[in-house]
Symmetry: C2
Subunit: 329 residues, 2 copies
Amino acid sequence: MTGSSRSRHGGNVVALCGGIGGAKLALGLSKVIADERLVVAVNTGDDFEHLGLHISPDVDTVTYTLAGIANPETGWGRADETWNFMESLGRIGGETWFQLGDRDLALHVERTRRLRAGDSLSEITADMRARLGISARILPMSDDPVRTHVETDAGPMPFQNYFVERKCEPELRSIRFVSAQSARVQPDVARALGNSDLRCVIICPSNPYLSVDPILAVGAMRELLRQTRAPVVAVSPLVDGQTVKGPMSKIMREQDLEARHATIARHYDDVIDGLMIDSSDDQIPNHISTTVEDTMMHSLDDKVRLARHVLAFADEISAGRELPQARRA
Amino acid sequence: MTGSSRSRHGGNVVALCGGIGGAKLALGLSKVIADERLVVAVNTGDDFEHLGLHISPDVDTVTYTLAGIANPETGWGRADETWNFMESLGRIGGETWFQLGDRDLALHVERTRRLRAGDSLSEITADMRARLGISARILPMSDDPVRTHVETDAGPMPFQNYFVERKCEPELRSIRFVSAQSARVQPDVARALGNSDLRCVIICPSNPYLSVDPILAVGAMRELLRQTRAPVVAVSPLVDGQTVKGPMSKIMREQDLEARHATIARHYDDVIDGLMIDSSDDQIPNHISTTVEDTMMHSLDDKVRLARHVLAFADEISAGRELPQARRA
């Protein structure tokens, strides 16, 4: 192992991450990467104002997961949750389609208060993760508001109305990330990506279209990923041609896309150097470095194992190979 | 009984009301006065913004009490309450000195949302009481913000910081009702007070200095009470020279006031026609109509009995007597 790769092993790892699937790998990574060297850049395209509160669903899922207080059944929200607020809200005529647990609510109320007082989402998220004993740096992809909107056969709608209120039932036609271009990549994320000791970038097994694309759409993000000398690897969210959770397979069908790892590889073509795929798929993309693993993450051991493997895969690319042609374009 | 007094018995009753003690009598009145003929005008001087939420403690106490869902132990907040929000808020560094239960929180979140959307506190309160099956008209004393501030030996402070955060420990020097003069009496309250079929006005046994004075300080309120031909009667909050709950005795000492019914009578001198006092006090004010009752309200029966008695007392004044001299000034 060369000196240069040793120093890179001590460097930062940046994980791009959506909600549930991404949070699982981020948890695995947080057990393997010490201190603050793990930077988790989280999708905020799903953020919205609801009941007068600022909700950041993916930031919350990652925060709760890394704090060990996430609801293991749902993947979102908190463990040991109670629902008296929602029940009481329904009784006085409030909107109840978006479930907010009593414990969960504290985060939304406190964050909303601080945002109104002028603190940034980054500062608030940093304070909360510190309070909850998380050493990994959880950061929003941007402190500027970016909002995912979908065009469907039932008309255009904001993401949460499509995803939660309508349960992804309308047929998806297109996805827009409102204000993404003019948004600035969160400065610490940009710094980590631009730093020469960056070890690797990992695109977590989140929904590429709804969870990762908004991150890639932010300001200079795509350019930062293209320019870094560190390897960028993605973990395909497909297992056996399906997604573990969520509407990705349905969305791929609606977009006439085959639910294959090759489709994911092509989707990330201009930014990744390697793709980690589940062993269940027989069609291995042939134009990119791939590695085959069991990517299902049931237990904490699974998550840690996958984290180690994806880091090893990235380190291998970093140590042994030229960057693929696509990255040089 | 004359025709005029029969019509008056069918008229509206306006109750001026603070928190716990006032809410108890308001509950009794709501069991005795049918439909919407009971107008409960509630102190909002205690209202404040906390955690980014608009809290109206007295309106809430009256609403919960009349809906039969108040916490019988504390007098404020809701029965069968849980505290997971507060616990979780403390863990992420939020302020926890003002207790907000999980069920209670729904009211604050929904009200705050609607206030920001431009609805008035009156409209919101009306919708909530309808949802909670309350027929009495609970109304804020004003839709304009009035804020009670206290001057103490520890400096000036907003009411809730004195009352809840500091537990009334600082010595009270003076009380101000910020913006009270320029505030408008809530229009339905003003209409009920100005209407010729008003049966009576009842000043509930709330703290005269902290809970009733802010109501009397609003815009034309004192003038409306002086001008009405209906009797205005107060129920003294003192029992045995003490208050049942709250800091009134301490405040009276700090103001060099004797904790006697005569002091209460003098305090309300320019607006009341009669004072109902507890039987435990041996010093009966001699310059005003008084009636002696057991004013302790433990059970619902106590509250209904006291409500009947105070209405009978007012009707007696109305039927049999000239209005006292003070009211003609």
